[in-house]
């Protein structure tokens, strides 16, 4: 007996196994990031000085005597803005790679998936530049709770991006061999990887304003 519904949809649920599986996984991810956002809100509303750069650190950053300095002003909005656009663009490219497979064009798939991978790498490099600048100014997770939240949330998000790079890289490279043996299943795999990737994008869409802009 073979495991049923790996490719075709089960009539009563309307889903194939991997699609239900990935939505369940994303549901648990929602709870993971939900708890982290909840912690952020609780800590931020519980501590009146949460968003304010302590005086000693403000001086060290060269802001002495300019009044109250808020943490988001220390974050690099231009980089994060570009990164947001990069991730959004990668969401378009990965959905294009799926559409290419459904139009039975493997070369187009490789192109769009390759662009998705490129975008992810750009995102990670920009993230590394951003982190490096923080570290060189001695702004570490332990410096203040805002930075602790900033590093933890963006760090976990970056780990998710790396996870996506691994999966998408596999589908772009060795995994694409499946296109010859079982094209329908391969298309499903790309759809499911896309669902995950969009979720990573979606998390960033909330992280960006709540960390950098507010």
């Amino acid at each position: 007996m073979q495991i049923p519904y790996t490719v075709e949809e089960r009539p009563d649920t309307g889903l194939y196994n991997a699609k239900l599986g990935v939505w369940l996984f994303l549901a648990s991810e929602v709870m993971l990031f939900g708890a982290l956002f909840s912690s952020y809100i609780l800590l931020r509303t519980g501590d009146p000085s949460f968003m304010i750069v302590p005086h000693a650190i403000a001086e060290q950053l060269g802001h002495a005597g300019h009044g109250e300095l808020r943490w988001p002003a220390e974050l690099n909005v231009p980089i994060a803005f570009v990164n947001t656009l990069v991730l959004i663009f990668s969401s378009v490219t990965i959905v294009m790679s799926w559409a290419s497979l459904r139009l039975r064009k493997l070369d187009k798939f490789r192109l769009w998936m390759g662009l998705t991978l490129l975008c992810s790498l750009v995102f990670l490099v920009l993230k590394a530049v951003e982190y490096n600048a923080k570290f060189s100014h001695h702004l570490l997770p332990g410096t203040a709770n805002f930075l602790a939240i900033y590093f933890t949330l963006t760090g976990l998000h970056a780990l998710h991006v790396i996870g996506g790079v691994v999966v998408n890289g596999y589908l772009w490279g060795p995994g694409a061999k499946m296109w010859k043996s079982d094209p329908a299943r391969f298309t499903n795999r790309v759809e499911v990887a896309g669902l995950y990737w969009h979720f990573v994008d979606l998390v960033w869409i909330f992280l960006f304003p709540s960390l950098y802009l507010l």
């Binding site: 909840s38 947001t84 378009v92 979606l202």
Partner: protein
């Protein structure tokens, strides 16, 4: 339900690019608004509304949730309820007393 004919898929592709464009514009708007120095409440409200619209577009169109099956809706509804619990429960600890 996503289409199966080549024509339907091409129509979908056009929609993807439009949504991508909309997301670009909304991102620019969010950043622009943050330079207006609005009151804290107003700024949070606008930023979160825009983020929700963007999130809705990603989930609805890119993750094609608008044409997804009922099983997925049920799952996400359940998750949304528990998401609210985990967001509000810890904050609720402050109601009617000290805590925090």
């Amino acid at each position: 339900m996503s289409g199966h004919t080549a024509e339907e898929i091409r129509a979908e592709v056009r929609r993807y690019w439009l949504v991508g464009l909309a997301l670009f514009l909304l991102t620019i708007i969010t950043v622009a608004v943050s330079y207006l120095h609005l009151s804290a409440g107003m700024a949070v409200a606008i930023a979160l509304i825009i983020a929700c619209v963007k999130g809705g577009l990603v989930a609805g169109v890119f993750m094609h949730l608008i044409s997804e099956r009922q099983a997925v809706y049920a799952l996400l509804l359940l998750t949304a309820v528990f998401f609210l619990f985990v967001m509000l429960g810890p904050l609720g600890g402050r109601l009617g007393g000290v805590g925090g």
